[in-house]
């Protein structure tokens, strides 16, 4: 803009000074904000670094008094049911059932699992009837008003080894052994950042069976010198809630006889029973993954078609 006459000149100067002052005040405001922001950022970054250091220190100073459990993270195993196309290995589930029946069932109930569902493991109807009949079920009252015992039928669930939780606790040193129906989903060691982000892409959902397997094979390890193990408990560095647990080492080599030639080792037993417990907790896993694949393929194809349609619709419109 060209100044038209001399008398407008002072006004212009005034105008310019105001803008300059405004600019200065703005610059000052920005600078203050920026500085305080940078400080805040530094403080946050500093505090973010601090806890990791503190934890590392804690761990270093007393191996005998750990504060975070489990002491060792569960070992990640290969499971047939992992990944988008995972399926249960029926032979493994049958072996796992055998381990459950012969070892775990002495103390652990599995009350949500019905005999009829063992069809998933590859058993015929006859085999399931025979298996159910091995159990005695307390039923009733009958027409006379009495409770009575009868052999199990496929619609029955696995009977509990103890009449109630109090009896279970009394027989096991004060802590009732947990029901096993959902154990493989009810145990999971926190993965922490950034692993839980990677888990989304690797579809890691085997924290439960990994934990159970590690726990069952973890009894061999010796506690570090100076660690106090409470009486009546057993050291296990994989236990999620302390240095030791009430359950003694339940498995030993050759304890359960396998008829399919699989190795009769603690490691194999642990794998098999962990896989079996995953099935018990998530019996529809195969159907879920199979349906999921179809759904995703459908959404992908339909999405692609809709995207092409969208491009065509918007082709003539700048946006």
């Amino acid at each position: 803009m060209i100044p038209k006459s001399g008398d407008r000149f002072p006004e212009k100067i005034m105008l310019e000074t105001t803008t300059a002052r405004q600019r200065i005040s703005r610059g000052f405001g920005m600078k203050t904000i920026l500085t305080s922001l940078a400080l805040l950022g530094l403080v946050l970054a500093g505090t973010a670094a601090a806890p990791t250091g503190a934890i590392a220190q804690e761990e270093a100073h007393s191996e005998a008094q750990p504060t975070h459990f489990p002491i060792h993270e569960p070992k990640e195993m290969d499971w047939s049911f992992a990944g988008p196309f995972g399926t249960y290995d029926k032979a493994q589930l049958q072996r796992g059932l055998k381990v459950y029946k012969e070892v775990c069932a002495a103390c652990h109930s599995m009350k949500l699992v019905a005999f009829r569902t063992l069809e998933d493991l590859g058993y015929s109807e006859g085999q399931i009837k025979a298996l159910a009949a091995e159990y005695t079920i307390n039923d009733g009252p009958n027409d006379a008003g009495d409770m009575f015992d009868r052999p199990g039928i496929p619609s029955d669930h696995f009977p509990a080894p103890f009449p109630n939780d109090q009896a279970a606790a009394a027989a096991n040193g004060g802590a009732a052994p947990p029901d096993m129906s959902l154990l493989a989903k009810a145990r999971g060691v926190e993965r922490g950042f950034p692993r839980f982000v990677f888990d989304i892409f690797t579809q890691y959902a085997q924290g439960g069976p990994d934990y159970i397997h590690s726990l069952l094979t973890g009894y061999d390890e010796q506690p570090p010198a100076g660690m106090e193990i409470p009486e009546g408990t057993h050291y296990n560095p994989y236990f999620i809630a302390g240095v030791s647990l009430k359950m003694p080492n339940p498995l030993s080599d050759d304890q359960v006889t396998y008829d399919d030639g699989s190795p009769q080792t603690v490691d194999q037993y642990s794998r098999d029973v962990s896989a079996f417990l995953m099935w018990a907790a998530e019996p529809h896993l195969e159907a879920r993954k199979k349906t999921g694949f179809r759904v995703l393929v459908f959404l992908l194809l339909f999405g692609a078609l809709v995207y092409l349609t969208k491009r065509k619709v918007w082709a003539g419109v700048a946006h």
Binding site: T47, A48, A50, A54, L112, H284, L299
Partner: protein, 434 residues
């Protein structure tokens, strides 16, 4: 905007008969076919439709789940397991519902952040924004009560902790808490009333959604430039333009949702909720669902007394205050410019706020001990500073970038210079990469 210029002309006799008596087809036509939408909406604007889909999906799966669920503390856990094992496709319904809640919140957070970024709450859309905040509050109540229903360990202890907040309120706190619980502790009466309310609230949400959409259709949608629609060339018809774009956005969202439902159904849950509720056994760490974690972190950040306010009440006030901030946003933000696209400093602070919210979420999942507490306090400070200091002050001192005269001009400018015609944007970009 939609008032007064309906272009609907019924083609059939039945159509005319209806139109003269109850013009529902006209309403649908005007709202979802002829309704003018800004031509420059990006995919962030598809989340309204996505949320509508999620609400519908939650209600449908929820209604069927309620047919099989037993709201009784001795039966609830096993009835959920019966759904998972014995009900036809029960596992699918239940996983869709539990993950659906999470994805409902994913969508609503993106929706809210979109509103914050583009200044969608500014006049004349204050009421639209507040209705959205009410929906969000109702969603939180619904989500919280829904999480209690499976009656697992986290259900029980989460309910114990959260209802415990109310006892911090002076004078009436204990009374409110007992009213919520139906007793002195979480028990069967709590479960019964939570189930009843969990069934009721979604219908209330649907009611507020109707108001939300009504308000939207009166004021019209905002858009990435934040400039009001000025002429016909600024808009396109809802159908087919917005319909097809929304449909694509929904399918992408559903793809990610399905990935979690089918492959990682328990990823967003907590293992402890597969253990039946036990009032005598407290879990090592009680954590709420992930979508409450930032607020949980704010609650626990107040570890000190402020005058007559003890730390417990202070925490509760800070937590409710952090949500109340959202309601005040239309009046806290003093800037005349809506969109962060033209506000370089606001853009920077917006992304810092996003980082802060995520950081608070992470802190909420960590035990409240050691330096986590201090970090949570700093992050809480920034959270409130964003609303109470940054929003009002920035609007007064920030120099916005030049605004285009109209949406059409902005669109044409963008299409012409795709690549490098924007020196101002180029300089602003490095700061926003965060």
């Amino acid at each position: 905007m939609s008032e007064g210029h309906s272009t609907y002309t019924p083609k059939t006799g039945i159509g005319r008969w209806f139109d003269a008596r109850m013009p529902l087809p006209r309403l649908v036509y005007d709202s979802f076919v002829a309704y003018p939408v800004p031509r420059n909406l990006n995919y962030a604007w598809t989340f309204g439709g996505i949320l509508a889909i999620m609400l519908t999906a939650q209600m449908l799966t929820g209604i069927v789940l309620a047919m099989h669920y037993a709201a009784d503390s001795t039966l609830a856990f096993d009835s959920v397991e019966k759904i998972m094992r014995d009900v036809n496709s029960g596992w699918l319904l239940r996983y869709m519902h539990s993950n659906g809640a999470s994805f409902f919140f994913v969508a609503v957070y993106i929706h809210i952040f979109r509103g914050l970024y583009y200044g969608s709450y500014k006049a004349p859309r204050e009421l639209l924004w507040i209705l959205g905040c009410i929906i969000y509050l109702l969603m939180m109540a619904t989500g919280f009560m829904g999480y209690v229903l499976p009656w697992g360990q986290m259900s029980f202890w989460g309910a114990t902790v959260i209802t415990g907040f109310f006892s911090a309120i002076p004078l009436v706190g204990d009374w409110i808490q007992q009213l919520l619980l139906g007793g002195f502790a979480v028990d069967n009466p709590t479960l019964n009333r939570f189930f009843s309310l969990h069934y009721l609230l979604p219908f209330m949400i649907a009611g507020v959604v109707v108001l939300h959409i009504w308000a939207l259709h009166v004021v019209g949608q905002s858009n990435p430039t934040g400039i009001e629609v000025k002429s016909k060339t600024d808009t396109v018809a809802f159908t087919p333009y917005a319909t097809i774009k929304d449909a694509f956005g929904m399918l992408v969202f559903l793809f990610i949702f399905a990935y979690f439902v089918f492959y990682l159904p328990n990823f967003l849950g907590h293992p402890d909720n597969y253990v039946v509720a036990d009032p005598l056994k407290t879990p090592a760490h009680i954590v709420p669902e992930w979508y409450f974690l930032p607020f949980y972190a704010i609650l626990r950040a107040i570890t000190f007394n402020i005058g007559p306010i003890n730390s417990k009440l202070g925490g509760v006030l800070a937590m409710f205050g952090s949500i109340a901030m959202l309601f005040l946003v239309p009046w806290l933000d003093t800037s005349k410019v809506r969109s962060a696209v033209y506000r370089p400093w606001y853009k920077l602070f917006f992304w810092l706020f996003v980082i802060d919210a995520v950081l608070l979420g992470w802190l909420g999942s960590q035990p409240a001990e050691g330096s986590y507490v201090f970090m949570a306090q700093m992050a809480t400070l920034f959270y409130f500073a964003f609303f109470l200091v940054v929003l009002p002050v920035l609007g007064l001192i920030e120099t916005p970038r030049r605004l285009p005269n109209s949406i059409t001009e902005a669109v044409l400018e963008k299409n012409k210079g795709s690549g490098g015609g924007h020196p101002a944007r180029a300089t602003a970009a490095p700061e926003t990469k965060g």
